[in-house]
Symmetry: C2
Subunit: 405 residues, 2 copies
């Protein structure tokens, strides 16, 4: 009989957000009259901006006309979009349009990129961490065995208030290092100097950094790198993942991109080196057929002057939500992290409670949904994540409920 990839069987059958959804559903059944406000999953609520909507309509019309209809596009993405991304997001940095690969989502790219590496590669992740980095490596057989919430072969880099959410360099060299800044779930950032420590380490030790920068658009403070390529040498060790999801409200429209600089090489296992850019191109050409033309036109419209002004207005709404939520939580006497350069607020739960305790408390007593920190890893215990992606009205109401707790 045909045999399964047994690595899949090691995964717990439930995904964090599925567990949460089940608890929320149960609460809803018991309290059909209570209005639940979701500050859990990181999904946007503001509609697509006008310039993006107009670009979509125009592109749809092109697809209905034989003279302008487009079939298969380049798997890597249309040049018009790769050039706009490069000119806007990588001006002055050592990145060319050929290094940019457009896709349907950072989750897909982050999940798939590990395929390019040897099965015995050692993976390091910050803790707490976005589950996709770990789960995709579990599926590929790199994680070892699960004990409670930690995998035997994964190298965890704790990020807690004790180290100010700055991970320490690992004692044993990993092959792949996943970093996410601004961070999901903690909402914290690294200063440029703190990020440089990691790039220098990767250069010295021959590691690859997989840098998830999906929340880059939320950076407000000086001294925080918008791209890892602002750090010298990063183009020899780092892949950068970016997305239009949180930048321009594309969570339901689906467009992202991954930067694989030409200089980025790994060992070919026989004494030579091999470039990752060509390999990623081969992977995408074989297993992917490109992002829809109309969506690429929409993404391109984000880079127009009007598009930039409009998305800045939307992001300002979420920033204001974050500011007010942070204040309200501080008012409850709780410690608050993140929320300035990111749409996420990381809340230390009251002493003696677990993160699931506090999740249950907020759900039962305020009909508010948060994400328990332990769902993101062992070092997330004692925290919950709140998102600022709600509508201003819902966020105000959530704040009022928090005040009354």
């Amino acid at each position: 009989m045909t045999k399964v990839n047994t690595n899949y069987l090691k995964l717990s059958s439930n995904y964090l957000f599925v567990d949460i959804a089940r608890k929320v559903e149960a609460f809803k059944q018991e309290h059909p009259d209570r209005k639940i406000i979701r500050l859990g999953i990181g999904d946007v609520t503001q509609p697509l901006v006008k310039t993006v909507i107009a670009a979509l309509h125009d592109a749809v019309n092109e697809m209905g006309d034989p003279a302008t209809f487009r079939g298969y596009g380049p798997e890597q993405g249309y040049a018009f979009l790769r050039e706009a991304i490069c000119a806007h997001d990588y001006a002055g940095l050592p990145i060319s349009p050929d290094d940019i690969f457009v896709s349907d989502g950072a989750k897909s790219d982050l999940g798939n990129f590990q395929e390019l590496f040897s099965e015995d590669s050692v993976v390091a992740v910050t803790d707490p961490v976005y589950p996709v980095y770990v789960d995709s490596n579990v599926m590929a057989g790199r994680a070892g065995d699960l004990f409670d919430v930690t995998w035997s072969r994964i190298c965890y880099l704790p990020c807690t208030k004790e180290n100010n959410f700055v991970p320490e360099l690992p004692s044993v060299r990993p092959d792949l290092i996943y970093l996410c800044y601004p961070n999901n779930p903690t909402g914290t950032v690294l200063s440029k100097d703190e990020l440089r420590v990691w790039v220098d380490y990767a250069v010295r030790e021959g590691c690859i950094i997989l840098y998830d920068s999906a929340y880059e658009a939320y950076i407000q403070e000086e001294g925080v790198a918008h791209s890892i390529y602002e750090i010298e040498g990063a183009d020899e060790v780092a892949v950068e993942f970016r997305s239009f999801s949180k930048t321009a409200g594309f969570t339901g429209l689906r467009c992202a991109y991954t930067v694989v600089p030409e200089k980025l090489t790994v060992s070919d296992g026989r004494g030579g080196k091999v470039g990752l850019r060509n390999l990623w191109n081969r992977r995408q050409s074989t297993k992917y057929n490109g992002c829809p033309y109309i969506v690429q036109r929409a993404a391109c419209a984000v880079y127009t002057e009007a598009g930039q002004r409009e998305i800045a207005e939307t992001i300002a709404i979420y920033h204001e939500n974050a500011r007010k939520l942070s204040e309200a939580v501080k008012g409850m006497g709780l410690s608050v992290f993140g929320g300035v350069n990111a749409p996420y607020i990381w809340v230390g739960v009251p002493d003696g409670q677990t993160s699931w305790d506090f999740f249950n408390h907020l759900l039962t007593d305020a009909a508010l949904v948060c994400t328990p920190g332990v769902g993101f890893g062992k070092s997330g215990e004692g925290y919950v994540r709140l998102t600022a992606f709600g509508s201003p009205k819902d966020t105000e109401e959530a704040i009022e409920r928090l005040r009354q707790l």
Copy 2:
């Protein structure tokens, strides 16, 4: 230093269609005045139909309004689309909407599905074959080593005029069997009885059939199964891959679906069985974020009465192209296969020529691009593929050039 997945290095650096593009480009440089007509790559040319365009505009408007905006959708696809697919394409068959997974393309799903199986699984493919089945398994380490155009661990099932393009059962049991009907590249089909032989074999031997049915909409003749689930027992052994690409001209819009029946199980490697549906759901939930909402609305519009009428008109255009092309090629004294239940025509090249010889002949002497059969495998030598996806005008001109050869 971090090490590459060395399986990637076994792939030839060029993909068939890239090789062709390079030769065509060279010809263009030398003959800038000649109009090239492409009968090579299987891309559609007719625009999206009116009903689909209208559905796209409506859905775009929803995305611009806070009351109807949609963020993350279900990774598996919206229920409205899965239910429409089930009601229309699987009426009377043992398939439920929960068995259907909507995605951005059959290429993605066919490329990714092998992840669910053990690394030592033995893979069988018909020969000639769509390169994605083989290449994705090479990347996963299942193909062995390459000798000329064949892989040492792949089980090839020759399909030539000698066996009327009906593959014989393999002498050694494979774990995974890729079948594609109507076939890409040959354009041939299996009768229901011929397909039943394969389902019965898979049931008896405990194999999984990965059934690519991307060209189902082109079936015209009686006695040909539109879905493998028309064969009793197939829901215990087969996954079916379908696409809107060729059915409704979605090659640039990107929507497909994969059917994983609940009854489909494989060995868990420790004496038990495990259902593939849950595992595919876990894979998609971890590494994919769903097809764009607006695209799913467009796909749903295909199933309306007007949508069905309109796509039938488009498909009729391609059928007529295929009929005329077949006649013209027969008029050249060449043997012709396929082209009736598929948009592909498989042409036996003149005695003494290779498929690349004939490719060069058509390009040089008629400025026509075909696909050399050997690019699809050893048994494709001696054939070329022509597609009927050109515009009627270009196809007429191609026919005229063929007549003058």
